[in-house]
Symmetry: C2
Subunit: 352 residues, 2 copies
């Protein structure tokens, strides 16, 4: 285990700060910029500042932590700072943070002067196994997640396990949900291995395998015309639950908590529609309910959730489209689900 080669860029797992430093040195950039948030500024940025102490051609752009920062207004703020700092086409943006930083920074860089280089240094488990690989950038408008974005590949990704030690347990578990998804859609043995490990502190080997699965899928289908939809398992319902929670809850669900709910609901739909066995369904329910606190969905307006689902990018012609499972380790793409079916699956979760 060392480096994964994606379409056009390497994903480093070892000596990542040294590799980043080498990348910047050899890239001959006119200037570089580190995009960070108030959390990574404390826990991760100092490591980079030590590494780049000898450079005088970089600036730091710090934003607030949290999904609210993925709004277009923050993006405009980043563009204006790049202008003020004199960024040119030979500049580099280093996205140091979680999914918000990589999605937002990736979008800002991919559109600044029609595209400057960017790399990701993901600092959360979720962004290491999900957002940092695959070339999707995105921002929210009116809280509709990733409604605006591009498909643009980073020039490199640096996955540093040390950064995870500063994360609260709840943030680790948010990433674990995506790792479990990788097993469910594609690799039953990996699912089994995850189930039997300490998921509050996943090993580098397990993270590596998740990145390997995600990378394989996105390399086959970079712009989501086919197999990449596999990664949407749990996300049609999960995204809606997440958006709704963000709008209404004082302490909103994490991404992982929301898609864990989505995976339970969509596993139920898979049991109804694509042949997922009762045993597999029971196993999936047991794993997710064991890892994540029960969320009181009964108070949620199902019609409102369906309205959010209808705005999902994955839909066409006004139909709600789900990726389901045939069995643990094997996905089933493009299942149109009726509102009645979606309500039933939400009720299934609510009544657990």
């Amino acid at each position: 285990m060392n480096t994964i080669q994606s379409n056009s860029y390497p994903i480093f797992f070892e000596n990542t700060i040294g590799e980043l430093s080498k990348f910047v040195r050899e890239g001959d950039y006119s200037r570089f910029f580190i995009l960070t948030d108030e959390n990574t500024a404390i826990h991760c940025l100092p490591v980079l500042q030590v590494e780049f102490a000898g450079y005088d051609n970089f600036d730091i752009i710090e934003i607030n932590a949290g999904e609210e920062s993925k709004d277009i207004d923050f993006c405009i703020g980043i563009w204006k700072m790049l202008i003020d700092f004199g960024a040119d086409r030979k500049s580099l943006l280093i996205n140091l943070g979680g999914g918000v930083i990589s999605d937002l920074g990736g979008f800002a860089a991919s559109t600044f002067k029609r595209g400057i280089d960017f790399v990701h240094v993901p600092t959360t488990l979720l962004s290491q196994v999900d957002a940092s690989v695959g070339g999707k950038t995105g921002i929210d408008i009116d809280r509709i997640k990733n409604i605006i974005g591009t498909f643009t590949q980073p020039k490199a990704v640096f996955i540093n396990n040390d950064f995870l030690t500063s994360l609260p347990a709840r943030q680790i578990l948010s990433g674990t949900a995506e790792m479990l998804k990788h097993g469910l859609i594609m690799d039953a043995a990996y699912w089994a291995a995850l189930k039997n490990s300490d998921l509050s502190a996943p090993s580098v080997d397990l993270i590596y395998r998740s990145v390997e699965i995600k990378n394989k899928v996105v390399m086959e289908d970079p712009t989501e015309k086919g197999i990449r939809k596999a990664l949407n398992f749990g996300h049609t319902i999960g995204h809606a639950v997440e958006t709704n929670s963000l709008l209404n809850d004082e302490d909103p669900l994490t991404h992982g908590e929301a898609i864990a709910i989505g995976m339970i609901c969509e596993a139920y739909l898979a049991h109804k529609k694509t042949g997922l066995s009762s045993d597999d369904l029971a196993e999936i329910v047991a794993v997710f309910t064991g890892l994540y606190p029960k969320y009181d969905l009964s108070k949620t307006d199902y019609a409102e959730l369906c309205k959010i689902m209808l705005k999902d990018k994955k839909n066409q012609n006004g139909n709600i489209n789900c990726t389901l499972l045939n069995k643990i380790g094997e996905c089933n793409l493009d299942n149109i689900c009726s509102e009645a079916e979606l309500y039933e699956s939400l009720a299934f979760y609510a009544e657990l």
Copy 2:
């Protein structure tokens, strides 16, 4: 003469409304949207409304005419309307208008849900010979032109000569400047043909040849790493003069008027630096001063113009980079020009 094939899309010159209609029909789009401005809504939109009278799955998005509409705020407005109108990934945006519409609409479409299809129906001479071909999209921030954008190809371009009849003479001449540039950088015979024609109403054949030249250049170099820089002749200084005029003049220069000034200044630099003969310089000056009213550059702050040039996307490492000419019909890329040289070239124009 009929159709030019670009990288991945056709450029139609004949029966363009019929071809557009066929394109929409065969594209099997869930919905389509026509982006128009207050001028094209009067002069061009009715033709499309007649053509699409039988469709019930389209909406019209109208914006104000003028460069001010290329701001990010208008782009956000378009994104929100696409959301409200229920646009999905299988939707199409038809950009009906000049360069502002194609640049802005192209950017909005290329980033909406990470990219939906768009086509251009350019309605000004300038946009027919310039903005609609080449796959550059862009918006302005703080009046810095095209500072944000993508390289994204349209799915087709429909060049309808009939739309030009509604244009004021000054708008026609704005496009003529780009046609003359195509001759200067690449085709001395075309320059000579243009010089000897009635440039207040260029023939379809002449327009076709301009599109052919531009298309050849951008196909070789879609992301402006090399030969595409040829198209920047006159634009380093011209863009700065245009921006400055937009900020300060009650009746600002058109794009063509500004780059005509830029081409005179840069022809002067070419005479100084890359061997353009005195005769060629005199001919270039004569043609442009014959076509465009003299602009009083003497009141303009040259230092301010250089400051604008330094923010130009074309620069790297803080140097101002110009495309110059060896002779009429042959360009010379990547010439770094000092502030003193730029001042001298501006004074050359001012003293004409």
